[in-house]
């Protein structure tokens, strides 16, 4: 039974979240660091370069790293204060076992004993119920080395098909659309390319708060003449001064893209030569768009006709352009179609594969790109290979030294894994870098599933909210306590460097995974002694795949300040060995060669052509209705990150925006009799939440917004719907019907919990 062992208040009392603050050496104006370690921020997918000040095995501050080309010293508040996650009072420095007789529900246990217990429970469950009765959940904030090892661990050591990761909540709609349209899943250009372009269209991305450094690139593009189009239900900080704001109703993005493409077709703002030579499928898309007249598009999307026409004209007549999208259009049960809709606009314009023209998805997590390429995704093997493809299976089985028949087939997405737990099919779980109790939709259901597990082991550096259900907690490593690589938003592989050693019994995550393999009596393939060795094997495993890292070395990454994949060790054209392949900063350039098209074209299909895909509009599941008349949408604030496991423990970040609020328009507030600051209850078919209202004119009057970084009764995901995209399986976080009213009384938590708890 994996119920929470004691009253949550007692767990919070011991394990937090408590706030770190600047004390001791971190406050001193006279203590000098022993050294500066060049590394990157641990949070979002931008992966800004930063130098950590280190003294006495403690990170005591930071110094900007102005030579790193992506951010040149720039940082958001999370980057500035990231170092305060270290030496934290909540840091796990021993293994823990569930112990309902202990005050806080957990007791320290010797690390070796904890590992032995994990191995024994896995063996017991797998012997009784089969290999597939144990599942693994990973995360996209892990280094690529760890994600590779975790995928191998699930398939080779545990022999289970059931592994998936929290990128399922993040990048999968974009990834699936990229795969269908381009045959490769990566942003096409370095960010520096957008300075000098004519038009930048940002669809569903609050760049100023979720990827702040990107803002300077956009502003710089505007200084040189670019027009900025932003599509969002809220006037975000970047939308405030954009050139054209498209106030789209939540969940209507595919309709907007179809309507814009229809205008481009009617006005003949198309690149016919590009469409004929480099694409296929345009006719079917044009046929579908015919129904999206301007009037109907405006009616469905809530965007005024003039604004749609203007967007189509600017986009249609531009000479150069970029289109970026993020979770705003991807977090939908129609997320893949929405993403394909943007790609159709790009392909129809022919503006891709050029220095000032391209397309990109803005990744959310540190390793949102690398974490989706090397095998912790349920249907995937390293090198962006397909676990159902016999040839791919044979190659990876060969690298791993196993018979291809031993390699499990595809598993299921992370949410489906919880349904399998609910159904009793998955009985044991190992998780790392994933806090589904906060981050999955309809998390009351997720909690019920966690309670059904026979055995649950969590690897983490803080006791995250999901780990409250764990039988064993293994103390893992902070970002600054290990080394490895990640691949950031541009497709640039960068190096994370170790600044300090793990405290107490905590250790690097890859050691913990290997220790479990060893304790299970299956150490073969899990005897790496450092991350570099894992990376060397990953290079071989990725070789020949679309995400080919075989030409990447730690030295090259450090020397070049990043390497864009694909980076080959053998010339894909000749098969000859190349030592100095610099990587591929820009995809799909004229005359470029790739190993899939083999010279037939620029795109990663055998015929070398990009695919138009009919991007069909479908209304959201659980849409606003008479019963639940208001749209609920969710997202981030700049000072917090994901489920808040780290950022809700950093004092200065919590003080910047302490608790979630329900953002609503004054017209809606007036109708409901709610004033700014009032306790307000939002209710959906899944649950209720009571928070203070923030009344602002910067949101559609038919929509409320709640940021999702908080846990328990403050969690927005009590309300969200577990409807998923049929292709990508991404949940529909960005829209569902809700009703809102003034609360009768303050919520119970208000009297007992601190803001971050």
């Amino acid at each position: 039974m994996a119920e929470v062992p004691v009253d949550p208040l007692r767990i919070i009392g011991r394990f937090g979240p408590h706030l770190s603050s600047m004390t001791g050496m971190r406050l001193s104006t006279s203590v000098e660091p022993e050294r500066l370690v060049k590394t990157h921020c641990c949070f979002c997918g931008q992966q800004c370069g930063i130098q950590l000040k280190v003294r006495d095995n403690q990170v005591i501050g930071f110094e900007p790293w102005e030579d790193f080309p992506f951010n040149r010293g720039m940082l958001c508040p999370k980057g500035v204060k990231r170092y305060l996650q270290g030496s934290h009072p909540d840091r796990l420095t021993t293994a823990l076992r569930r112990d309902s007789s202990a005050e806080a529900g957990f007791s320290p246990i010797a690390y070796e004993q904890a590992i032995a217990r994990v191995a024994a429970e896995i063996s017991r469950i797998q012997t009784a119920c089969g290999s597939g009765a144990v599942g693994v959940l990973g995360g996209a904030s892990l280094t690529t080395e760890k994600t590779y090892l975790l995928g191998k661990f699930a398939r080779v050591c545990l022999k289970t098909p059931f592994i998936d990761y929290n990128g399922r909540l993040c990048m999968v709609s974009a990834g699936a659309a990229n795969k269908k349209a381009f045959g490769i899943d990566r942003t096409t250009n370095p960010w520096s390319d957008m300075v000098g372009t004519d038009v930048i269209w940002i669809a569903g991305s609050n760049v100023a708060e979720c990827s702040p450094i990107t803002t300077n690139y956009i502003w710089q593009a505007r200084e040189l003449g670019a027009k900025i189009i932003i599509q969002d239900p809220r006037i975000t900080p970047a939308a405030r001064t954009c050139d054209l704001y498209l106030p789209v109703k939540p969940g209507r993005d595919a309709a907007l893209f179809a309507g814009v493409l229809q205008i481009m077709i009617e006005r003949d703002w198309l690149d016919h030569a590009f469409i004929a030579e480099h694409t296929s499928g345009f006719e079917q898309v044009a046929e579908y768009c015919r129904q999206w007249t301007l009037a109907r598009t405006a009616d469905v999307t809530g965007v005024p006709q003039r604004a749609i026409s203007q967007a189509a004209e600017w986009w249609g007549t531009a000479r150069t352009s970029f289109l970026f999208h993020a979770r705003g259009i991807e977090h939908h049960s129609n997320g893949v179609q929405n993403s394909l809709g943007t790609i159709n606009l790009v392909l129809a314009s022919g503006r891709i594969g050029k220095p000032k023209s391209g397309y990109g998805t803005i990744v959310g997590q540190a390793n949102g790109q690398g974490g989706r390429e090397h095998g912790q995704k349920c249907d995937q093997l390293p090198g962006w290979r397909d676990i159902s493809n016999p040839e791919h299976r044979r190659y990876i089985a060969g690298v791993w030294g196993i018979d291809e028949r031993e390699l499990p087939g595809p598993g299921v997405d992370a949410y489906e894994m919880f349904r399998k737990i609910d159904a009793g099919e998955i009985k044991g779980l190992i998780s790392i870098c994933f806090n589904p109790k906060v981050s999955l939709p309809d998390n009351t259901f997720v909690t019920r599933c966690l309670e059904k597990l026979e055995f649950y082991a969590a690897i983490d550096f803080f006791l995250n909210d999901t780990a409250w259900h764990a039988d064993i907690v293994l103390p893992g490593s902070l970002h600054e306590e290990d080394e490895g690589t990640v691949t950031q938003v541009e497709g640039r592989i960068i190096k994370i460097n170790k600044a300090v050693e793990c405290p107490g019994d905590a250790r690097e995550d890859w050691r913990i995974i290997q220790d479990i393999a060893k304790a299970l009596g299956r150490p073969s393939g899990f005897t790496f002694t450092e991350p570099r060795e894992i990376f060397e094997e990953l290079r071989i495993a990725s070789k020949g795949g679309v995400a080919d890292y075989s030409g990447v070395t730690y030295e090259k990454v450090t020397r070049q300040l990043g390497v864009f994949w694909p980076c080959y060790s053998e010339d894909p054209r000749t098969g000859e060995s190349v030592e100095d392949h610099p990587g591929t900063p820009r995809l799909f350039e004229p005359g470029s060669y790739n190993p899939v098209a083999k010279g037939n074209g620029r795109f990663y299909f055998p015929d070398g052509r990009a695919r138009f895909n009919v991007a069909e509009y479908r209304p959201p599941v659980d849409d606003a209705s008479d019963e639940y008349p208001i749209y609920l949408t969710t997202g981030r604030v700049v000072s917090q990150f994901l489920s808040g496991t780290q950022t809700r423990r950093i004092g200065p970040l919590v003080r910047q925006y302490a608790e979630p609020r329900i953002e609503m328009h004054p017209r809606l507030a007036a109708k409901l009799g709610i004033a700014d600051g009032d306790w307000t209850t939002a209710e959906t078919r899944r649950g209720t939440i009571t928070l203070r209202a923030q009344v602002v004119t910067t949101i559609r009057p038919d929509t409320i917004f709640i940021p999702y970084h908080w846990a328990g009764r403050k969690s927005a995901n009590q309300l969200t719907v577990a409807a998923q995209d049929p292709i990508s399986k991404i949940p529909q976080y960005k829209v569902c019907g809700c009703r809102v009213g003034k609360a009768d009384a303050p919520p119970e938590y208000a009297a007992v919990l601190e803001p971050q708890q």
Binding site: M22, R26, L27, S28, T29, G61, P64, E66, N71, G73, M74, L75, C76, P77, G79, V80, K81, A208, E209, P212, I213, T215, N216, W219, R222, E223, L224, I235, P237, A238, A239, R240, T241, D243, L244, Y245, P247, G302, P304, R306, A307, Q310, V638, S639, P652, L653, Q656, H665, P666, R667, L668, K671, D676, V695, V696, T697, T698, R700, P701, D702
Partner: protein
């Protein structure tokens, strides 16, 4: 050491995204760790997400120094106005009241006024101030006049401000849309305060100045 005279500080509130990276980074400065010497304000959050970062403008004739009865506020030869000198400051708060830009703050617990000194420990050795280094939108920019001219063709730096009868020239420049700067090289702050505020800070260039949500039913 002195701040090199070819390096200048420029503020462009138009770019500001309100992220507070500047304020958070200011608390990391080695001379005053844990305290921010700058702040960031919403202009009117109910109506707009517009924010303005407030750093010391480093006046050529600092009002704060002129009103200081203890002569505790000094301007260095390179034009940087420093925090109050500890032995002299009597924590009277005259400077806090007098500064037209609202910059100095009185620290009651320490009985001293402290304020932004353009990260003198950094700028005096040719480095950028912490806030301008980290600012993700580069609303805060530190560099040469040539750099700003090249990077910001749409706006022009202005450093003369009119407050009633007082004209103030500052070391720090504010970036103003180029046509406005050409028309009015001096920013009349007080008369700007009398202007009828627009009900929205967002000008939707296509949907005119109207409410972008005008057609939305609740």
């Amino acid at each position: 050491m002195a701040k090199p005279d070819y390096l200048h500080f420029f503020i462009d509130p138009n770019r500001c995204i309100g992220c507070q990276a500047c304020v958070q980074a200011c608390t990391e400065c080695d001379t005053h760790r844990g305290e921010s010497m700058i702040h960031l304000e919403y202009v009117n959050r109910q109506e707009s997400v517009q924010t303005v970062p407030v750093v010391c403008m480093h006046c050529e004739q600092p009002t704060c120094a002129e009103v200081c009865p203890a002569d505790a506020i000094k301007r260095t030869g390179d034009g940087v106005v420093q925090s109050a000198r500890k032995p002299r400051c009597i924590a009277c708060g005259n400077c806090v009241v007098a500064c037209p830009f609202g910059v100095p703050e009185l620290y009651e617990d320490r009985k001293i006024m402290m304020k932004c000194d353009m990260c003198y420990d950094r700028s005096s050795v040719g480095k950028k101030p912490m806030c301008a280094t980290v600012c993700p939108s580069q609303a805060l920019f530190f560099g040469t006049r040539e750099q700003i001219a090249q990077l910001r063709p749409l706006s022009a730096p202005v450093n003369t401000f009119q407050f009633g009868n007082q004209t103030i020239t500052t070391q720090v420049h504010v970036m103003v849309p180029r046509q406005i700067a050409a028309r009015a090289p001096i920013l009349d702050v007080v008369s700007a305060m009398d202007e009828q505020p627009r009900n929205r800070a967002v000008t939707l260039k296509v949907v005119a100045d109207s409410d972008p949500y005008a057609g939305v039913e609740v």
